[in-house]
Symmetry: C2
Subunit: 333 residues, 2 copies
């Protein structure tokens, strides 16, 4: 899908490194950058429980370099970052519940490794531009809506704390060392190549897999919790449009979508394209403890600077998502 209406820098010939590039958003970004003529290297640890999946780059392997390695390994990282123009830091442990069961792995991947990326770049490629995938999870339970970037940061899980620490490193390394870092705070992202294999990655992935498998969904609470949803192509747009923008460096910007939907509306929209059935059940305690209630973002700060606005509404995004996965179930779960 060409998106020629979006202003962005010339990517042709640019050397790009995508950390976590076999994962959901990273692989979509990698394919788009290859389409734009960039010289793309994908780095991924392929940790079994995370989003890396060979199927995500199926048919594109010849247009990309693929380097299997773990961002926790600073020795390989220090070579990978050299002579690169742009790094997209998309690798992460993304399960909120898992971060409470195994906080140290979350700390290593989401916090220590990000510091390691910055230190490697500071030493071996201080001019590189780094775009970091942060998360709305750092805000915790919204104290007002929509949530803008001035909202208090009160994470409700270890994942939110570690992601925020990493974001602060990126901001700090810009201020102190002049490094060219920008963070985008992603909201619920969905679409082709999403990690659907297990129940650890939030309700969107779980609902998609169960709906596509014809299994019954369980909606926690009353299903009236509001969310904003970004189709993955819109998120890829945001990363591309944030690239090369000196005025964004050192900043952290919300993504979001003008539309908001309840969880029930999400399920009902999904029902237009799948045979879905659901029941409404009380919150399990470990989910309740880290649930954030309603959330939707004010993304005008980013929109005003870049003209980015999401192009895909929930209905059309879910239709495309279902179409992608319905012939590929065996590759994803």
């Amino acid at each position: 899908m060409a998106r020629r209406d979006q202003p962005m820098i010339e990517f042709s010939g640019k050397k790009v490194l995508i950390l976590g590039g076999m994962g959901f958003i990273g692989s979509n970004l990698a394919i788009r950058l290859a389409d734009l003529g960039a010289d793309v290297t994908v780095v991924d640890s392929m940790l079994a429980q995370y989003g890396g999946n060979l199927a995500n780059l199926d048919g594109h392997q010849d247009r990309l370099h693929i380097n299997f390695s773990d961002i926790r390994d600073s020795h390989t990282l220090s070579y990978l970052v050299r002579d690169v123009d742009i790094i997209y830091s998309m690798a992460g442990q993304t399960s909120h519940v898992e971060s409470m069961h195994d906080p140290f792995t979350d700390l290593e991947i989401n916090c220590s490794s990000q510091l390691s990326i910055l230190e490697c770049c500071r030493k071996f490629n201080p001019q590189v531009e780094i775009l970091y995938a942060s998360t709305r999870q750092i805000y915790g339970r919204p104290q007002y809506l929509p949530v803008d970037e001035s909202h208090p940061i009160v994470p409700v899980d270890v994942n939110g704390i570690n992601k925020y620490a990493a974001e602060m490193y990126y901001t700090l390394y810009h201020k102190v060392h002049g490094m060219r870092c920008t963070s985008l705070r992603l909201t619920n992202t969905y679409g082709p190549r999403q990690h659907l294999r297990d129940n650890k990655q939030g309700f969107v992935g779980i609902f998609l897999r169960l709906a596509l498998s014809g299994e019954q969904l369980r909606v926690f609470g009353d299903g009236q919790q509001l969310r904003d949803f970004n189709y993955v192509d819109d998120v890829v747009d945001a990363f591309l449009m944030a690239t090369g923008r000196e005025d964004l460096h050192g900043g952290a910007f919300n993504l979001g979508h003008g539309d908001k939907h309840s969880l029930l509306e999400f399920v009902q929209t999904l029902a237009e394209f799948t045979d879905v059935s659901y029941e409404i059940v009380p919150f399990p305690p470990e989910h309740k403890a880290i649930d954030i209630g309603d959330y939707y973002a004010d993304f005008s700060l980013f929109s005003d600077k870049t003209t980015w606005v999401p192009q895909v509404d929930l209905k059309s995004g879910l239709e495309r998502t279902v179409n992608y996965f319905k012939t590929r179930q065996n590759l994803y779960w």
Copy 2:
């Protein structure tokens, strides 16, 4: 010095663990708790570059248990925390400049190890009360004065980021796991047993050592930067008065002092007790990059809850400090 005017719980017979207990504040706390009849175990890594110093507990060894180990070692930690009533988490990498040179050591000690303490306690002693020594450094450059706990958190160095991540862990483990954790955000603390050996620990220690050695001080900038200063006995009071207070758990509270002084006033007060000479010089770049300008705290939140107010003014505190060190230079630098 007895401080019987301060309300606090009965410490006699309480089993207390002091992490970083051979360091500056930890050792002062250990001695006071021993005076109060507590069963005190001091844990310290004695890392050469930090504040641990055998001289700090000189004459008190028979009243305390001393366990040399590193809080980064979660195996020993998991034994040390068992059957303890109270843990004072005072161990830290405290040099702001050093945190920029070696951010990973700062991360390990100030962030990962604090998570490790919490995980060990959650598994082996979930009822323990934990008092965490946080820092004003998390606020960064004040956006208004005095700085209260609602002030934005914008750390200007890696140390501030890691200390804040740790504080967020303590808050989170209270909220999610019901653990009994309270953080105090310390301002400039000075007094007997302070780490004076090198130039990495901030201007107070540097000025004290140079003044006591009869060497010339260098005041950066114009010397008009304002600070609040807490004498260590007041900080020890604050930790003791915060202990056993369920209403503080999950919170983070500023310490501070009603009086504020410029750096020049600090030097001039020091000159009343030492032969001091100084010159005013421009900020070295690496200090300027992480300097925070004026800082003084609003500590009314903590004061209102506990009745704590500092008892010692700068003049009398510096006099006691100079008296402590002037016969012990060979033990401290």
